[in-house]
Each structure stands twice: as structure tokens, then as C-alpha cells.
Amino acid sequence: MSMEPDDFLRAVEAALFVAEAPLTPAELKLHVGNGGDLDAALQALASHYAGRGINLVERGGRWHFQTASDLAHILRREKDEPRKLSRAAMETLAIIAYHEPVSRAEIDSIRGVQVAKGTLDVLMEAGWIRPAGRREVPGRPLIYATSVEFLTHFGLGSRRDLPGMDDLRAAGLLDPVDLALEGMGGQSVLENDEEEA
């Protein structure tokens, strides 16, 4: 089968393995010297590695090892990680749920705080909101609405199941007493709502 690799080929193999970036044959020679036919060694290595989990490839005259393209999925493994929504995201979601469809500017004006771009992204990523067209006003802003997943996640039959203002008041949820405790004073105009961690 495959012959025992000679030392020159082994040197080329090792040099390519440790290299920080793809190497030209000239750069390779600085390492491995002239003790063999470099082109032949590269070809031999490329064919040796063809079909393996690692391939030796040439791109624009530079050589490097890379994983076989069909194995990309094992290099990135996804893992679910439970995370809690930030307060900014929670509020934005609530506004969309109660007022949909609603534009970003409208969300801002209801919240009294500018919503950061990332907040809508997070809600979109969570699958709870969706773009719902554009408002036919100057600038034609995107408007957002909640999704079916939103209803499912929150156990709502429909948006009408959301408690109304009277319910909120009765539950003491409109009570401004606790606002000071919520750190309202520290809120800047454009809040920094980078999701934690």
C-alpha cells in the first residue's frame, strides 16, 4: 500500500501541520531545505490525504491542511443553553404584544427609551417576533408583530388573552411605587442592553 514516507516528505507534512498560515513552496523550502523534490512531496501528500478527514489543499499557490468540507458540522456543535431575557427585551416584547403591529420608533416612544438594535434581534432569534410589513408613513419603517411561537411559549390562545389595563391595575402591576427600586434613575436615553453573557 502506501510506502513508508521519507524524511523529506515527513518534514513537509510536519511543517504544513504547524504553520500558522498557508505556505508557498518557497516558504516551505526555508524550513525543509532542498533535500528532496518539494513539488513531488506536495503532490504525494495531497493524494495521501485525499479522502481522509484532513486534506492538503492548494489555494493561490499556498498550501495548507484543512478539514474535509463534509465534516464542517462536527467542528461546530450546537448546544441549547437556557437564557433569561434582559429587561429591555422583555419590555420591547411586551410593547409589541400589546400594540402590534408597531414600528421601532413607536416602541421607543412607548418605552420612553430607545431600543437597541440587538434587542429586536434577540426577540427575532427567539422566534417571538416577526417583521410584519412596513408602515405607510414617511420612511416606511418596518413594523413588528408577535409570532405563533410567541403565543405558544407564553401559553396564550390569542393576543386577546393578554390581561388588559384593568387587570394589570388590579394586580398592582401599574403601581409606580417600585419604580425607584427598578433603577429607573440610571437609565440613559440609549440604553445599553447587551444581553448578559
Binding site: R76, M165, L168, D175, L179
Partner: protein
């Protein structure tokens, strides 16, 4: 049984010894260096000969006034004692016996030597980053954490409640206070004074059964109304002193203003 890493040759050793004491990691280390100059297996070393060498060496260092760390001197004292104990005839069994002390020293030297040798062999191995290399820039296996966003319905409505609570325009509702307007009082006092031919107290012109706030308002308004009506010449007012009751009566067409 132990490989012998390069040892200073006997010719160069004394000179090296006197040059610096930093070359030794303590008296045991110095003893080991001396012992290895005996060129025998450490198990067959003569502790007596070693002791003499050490004492000689310390004496030499002292003559050169080298700074000797205390533990070298402690070892010298101990070895001097060991030497005499080994040479003198034993009267009775001391504990520990000089032989045992010598053996202990020998065992310690063996152990130190074994570890020194092991360290050298360890360091000579193919070491990562010196002899063998791993990839310098591995792409890395990525564990992509996919966020599973969590929020409860309570979180949602609470958030909404808070927004509403903090953005609701603050309305200052001013309570409607029970007052008698001046016009009302002028009309009432004006119509009633016509029936009062004699002096009548101001309070008598007030509507009956008023609650306190309204009564005060009515009193004040009626007083101002009386002043206005007096100015118009329609009634006369009289008061005997400060805070005394105020009296009103309709003015006769031929009379002048009241005092």
C-alpha cells in the same frame, strides 16, 4: 544504576567550589557533589570519608572568608559530631546510633541523587513546544451555544405594567372645592338685605345647613359682597370692634353711608 550527568572533574572542582556557594542548593546538595567525586555507587560511599571532605571544604571556605549560610555550618557541626561518634568506641547503645545516623545520611543522599537524575531525564524528554509541536493556530472545535430564551407570561405582563406605570402622563387632579362665588353672594345678600330693615348679622345672610368648607367660603364671599353692595350704596355696615360681629341693613334712600 544512575546515569551520571556531567560532574565537574576533580581538577576543576576545588576551584569551582571556592568561586561560589550559589552553585549548591544547601549542604545536602554540596555533600552529594562531594560524594559523587568518590566515584562509587552511593550505596557504597564512605560516610566517614565524605564527612572529612565536607569539613575540609568548609574549613577552606572559612579561610577564604566566604559567607557561609548557617545551614552549611549546622551540617558541619553535625558531621563533626557524627565523625567522632563513628570513630570513638561505643560505650552503650545510643539512640540513634552513629551508624544509623550515617545510614540516614546515605539514604538521603541516594534519594536526592535519584530525584536529580530523574529531573534531568524528565527535562531531556521530547517536550511540546521544544521538540514536538502542535498546530500553532488550530481552528478550534466550537461548541456553539444556542440560546434558549426563557420568559414567563408573568414577566411579560409585569414588564408591560412597568412601562405603563412609568410612562403614564402624570395628571394632577385638583379637587373641586365647595365655594360660593362672589356673584352668587352679591345676588343672595342683595336680595336678602331688602327684607332686613334693622341691623342684622352678616351670618344671617348665609345659606342654612352648610358644611364647614362651604360655610367659610360663603362667609368670605358674603362679606366681600356686602362691601360691594355698601359701595353701591345699597346697604350699610356696622362693626363695634375688631372681630366683633358685622351688621348689615338696607340703606334708606335719604341716609348717608354707615360708619
Amino acid at each position: 544504576m544512575f546515569s551520571q550527568p556531567a560532574v565537574p572533574s576533580p581538577e576543576t572542582l576545588p576551584e569551582t567550589l571556592f568561586l561560589s556557594f550559589d552553585a549548591w542548593e544547601g549542604p545536602l546538595d554540596l555533600l552529594l557533589s562531594l560524594a559523587r567525586n568518590q566515584k562509587v555507587d552511593l550505596r557504597e560511599i564512605s560516610i566517614l570519608a565524605l564527612t572529612e571532605q565536607y569539613l575540609e571544604f568548609i574549613e577552606g571556605a572559612r579561610q577564604l572568608r566566604l559567607e557561609l549560610a548557617a545551614d552549611y555550618l549546622v551540617m558541619a557541626a553535625w558531621l563533626a559530631y557524627l565523625k567522632s561518634a563513628l570513630l570513638l568506641p561505643q560505650h552503650e547503645q545510643e539512640d540513634p546510633s552513629p551508624e544509623e545516623m550515617a545510614l540516614r545520611l546515605q539514604l538521603r543522599l541516594q534519594r536526592l541523587h535519584a530525584m536529580r537524575d530523574a529531573a534531568a531525564r524528565l527535562m531531556a524528554r521530547d517536550r511540546v513546544g521544544r521538540d514536538v509541536f502542535t498546530r500553532r493556530k488550530p481552528e478550534g472545535l466550537r461548541l456553539v451555544k444556542k440560546a434558549q430564551w426563557r420568559a414567563s407570561l408573568y414577566d411579560l405582563i409585569q414588564a408591560y405594567g412597568q412601562i405603563r406605570a412609568r410612562t403614564q402622563p402624570v395628571v394632577h387632579t385638583i379637587a373641586v372645592r365647595p365655594v360660593m362665588t362672589l356673584d352668587e353672594a352679591i345676588q343672595r345678600v342683595g336680595s336678602l338685605v331688602g327684607t332686613a330693615v334693622d341691623w342684622t348679622r352678616l351670618e344671617s345672610f348665609l345659606p342654612p345647613d352648610l358644611d364647614t368648607p362651604k360655610a367659610k367660603s360663603a362667609l368670605a364671599s358674603s362679606f366681600v359682597a356686602a362691601l360691594e353692595l355698601a359701595r353701591q350704596g345699597r346697604l350699610e355696615m356696622q362693626q363695634d370692634g375688631i372681630f366683633a360681629p358685622i351688621y348689615l341693613r338696607a340703606r334708606a334712600p335719604n341716609q348717608g353711608s354707615a360708619a
